[in-house]
Symmetry: C2
Subunit: 419 residues, 2 copies
């Protein structure tokens, strides 16, 4: 697929508000990936939506691979199920957008879906034969967030994957929980993030401790105490150690770092199932409570986290798996551009998605600045200067050194730069 830059809706822009202090807000808006409608509320423009969709596909694959079934629950939900668990008022009134319909009935927008998924699944899971079960959705969530800031890191409307599992056996729940953790680590690795597991509070979801999955970043809101040798890590909220301590697991040293939480996992126990008196019959016919786990990944937050962790002064550096395009072909020729057209076609035929900067009116400087800003993993530059030597330039976004190749060798060169 070739998308010609001259025909795209969006253009890069320089007029992004200086209020946007975070790198992801600045770079994603300047690059035309997203557009801010209100604090914490963004539109995804074509290139931003391509990134979001690629992340959603990766998350979907990994959740399906651990036996979870995809559903899609409503965002507009009646008051009753939230009242049954007490979350209509706590934290409801603080974080839930609540409203009335024209008939005066109360509704809340979904900020999480325990109250919806539990009665839903209880209609189908009636006996020990029906467990374990796991369902997930990828959905737009709403949260009345007083601290909406940092671009896609903390939104009032955001994309989320939320998954829920159902068990009758605590050991089985623990086993599935660890399967989810492994799937999460695969997701983060595939999207190009170096995330680690952190012990944390259960918060509004559960009295039990939870796990957070965090990437180190100065802009992050979480303070983590982490061992510099092993995988010991605790959120400051529940930390048993402090900076400079010796790690309880060995002789590493505890460091204090800032991190962005990109996922979390909770053992809910019977909290939500008992709120609706849902028990099921075991093999002997004895009723047993349903134990649940819930597991979240902030899909749109991942977009922001990747930008925070992978950019330089000139722009974004997208990991290949979630880049909006594989290759950016940049034509700097003032005259006829057959070589550039042919190069784009060669790369398309080799199976790459190509963004082709074919704009006749843009300056050389503007084109190269856009290429850096957009951050597509490999750039192919066609210029009069290199063509005079029979070559075009191929360069990885993360590299400083272009390689010169004959136009007919472009596919092999791109492959090499991607390796």
């Amino acid at each position: 697929m070739i998308d010609r830059q001259s025909r795209l809706l969006t253009k890069s822009r320089k007029d992004v508000s200086k209020d946007e202090a975070s790198a992801n807000a600045q770079l994603l808006e300047r690059g035309g990936f997203v557009n801010k409608l209100a604090a914490g509320i963004y539109s995804y423009l074509p290139m931003g939506l391509r990134v979001l969709t690629k992340i959603e596909t990766i998350v979907r694959e990994e959740m399906t691979a651990i036996g979870s079934e995809e559903v899609l629950m409503p965002g507009l939900t009646p008051k009753a199920p939230w009242e049954a668990t007490g979350r209509w008022t706590d934290p409801g009134t603080q974080v839930q957008f609540q409203l009335k319909d024209n008939g005066g009935r109360d509704f809340g927008l979904g900020f999480s879906h325990e109250e919806i998924v539990t009665p839903l699944v209880s209609q189908f899971v009636r006996s020990y034969r029906d467990v374990p079960k796991s369902v997930f959705q990828i959905q737009t969530k709403f949260r009345d967030e007083p601290r909406a800031k940092s671009g896609l890191l903390r939104g009032r409307e955001f994309r989320m994957k939320d998954m829920y599992s159902f068990h009758t056996d605590a050991t089985e729940l623990d086993n599935y929980y660890e399967q989810v953790v492994a799937a999460y680590m695969r997701v983060f690795s595939r999207v190009g993030l170096n995330a680690f597991r952190v012990k944390a509070l259960g918060g509004v979801f559960s009295p039990e401790p939870s796990d957070e999955f965090t990437v180190e970043a100065p802009v992050g809101e979480d303070t983590i105490f982490r061992c510099d040798h092993c995988d010991f890590a605790e959120n400051k909220e529940i930390a048993t150690v402090k900076a400079g301590d010796t790690c309880p697991n060995g002789d590493g040293s505890i460091q204090e770092i800032k991190g962005i939480e990109v996922g979390n996992t909770f053992r809910l126990g019977a909290k939500y199932s008992s709120a609706i008196n849902w028990t099921i019959a075991d093999k002997e016919g004895k009723t047993t409570p349903v134990l649940m786990g819930c597991y979240g990944i902030g899909i749109s937050r991942l977009v922001g986290a990747v930008v925070e962790c992978s950019h330089d002064d000139h722009g974004i550096i997208w990991p290949q798996a979630i880049a909006p395009y594989d290759v950016h072909v940049v034509n700097l020729m003032r005259t006829k551009a057959d070589v550039a057209d042919d190069t784009a076609v060669l790369l398309e035929r080799a199976g790459y998605s190509v963004l082709y900067d074919d704009r006749p009116e843009a300056s050389v400087g503007a084109k190269l600045a856009d290429a850096d800003l957009f951050g597509i993993p490999v750039r192919v530059v066609i210029s009069e200067r290199s063509l005079a030597q029979g070559s075009i330039e191929v360069k990885a976004r993360k590299s400083d050194t272009p390689i010169l190749v004959a136009p007919t060798d472009v596919v092999a060169a791109v492959e090499k730069e991607r390796a």
Copy 2:
């Protein structure tokens, strides 16, 4: 891909409320495709989400093919842009869910996105070189619908494709409008619907007449006067003819029918662009108003419309392109089921998605009733009786006559039944 029915979250059910008078509400709930949370608010369960996703993919392909770029705008939108066009109060207070955040600021949930897309696109479309442009999104919409009923046909939360085009030349808008109409007819044809074009009012979108795309169905809320010979059709709202009249275009006769509106197209003119004083410079530097069109397809309504148009007393009959699975392998054997397992694998290897009813405890009657209810286009039944003759049964859902084939010939037989 093979999904074993024994492991799926959902089961068919018989306890669907009798209040659900429409066939789509009854069959989709009984089959475990959707689950009702509140009036006009449904969860999509795994099989229902598979259908929805297939329709979304078809719509996306056809909109992309006419040069539209996909975006995703917020569902939670501030009051100001709606005030600028007057729709905060009319029809806002009637159809828009409106709410305040904790800071007392007014928001409305998106029931359509003219007010959001127009300022968004105006940031990027500044000169005659930037037009025409077309953007679309596939999104969850909210509408405070007093008449929420008829299953997925009229929801308060629903999936919609909304597209917007931008022009400076009225002829160019007309040309694009007809391109959209052609793309819409391809969409409806691909999802298995026999939709026709109907002249209608512009309604809350535009003072100009619009086109609706309608499928004939007794449950439909629209009354259409339609020629029995040509494509003349008018919504009763603006009809210039009545039942029994001679068609103005020839010698056909006008019939009165009931229909479900599955899509619509509007010429908006400069209504929304002038509300934000958006003009652009033409070649001579003269400012000219931006003309818009908007184009909707009710994605979730399509699911309901297909069921209304394609079912029998026993269940749904899915068109192949949007069926949740290609083939339903039903094992009726009481004993070892190697042949059934092998059949499912043969079909999977041939590239078909397979739902495999491997449930040991379900009765023969329950399995065959489920197969009819679920409506997967081709059914392959493995039973002791037919195996005694060295055969298995292959039958299209819409056919009454199974064919008997050797288990090793199942792929060719399925192909034939799909033809």
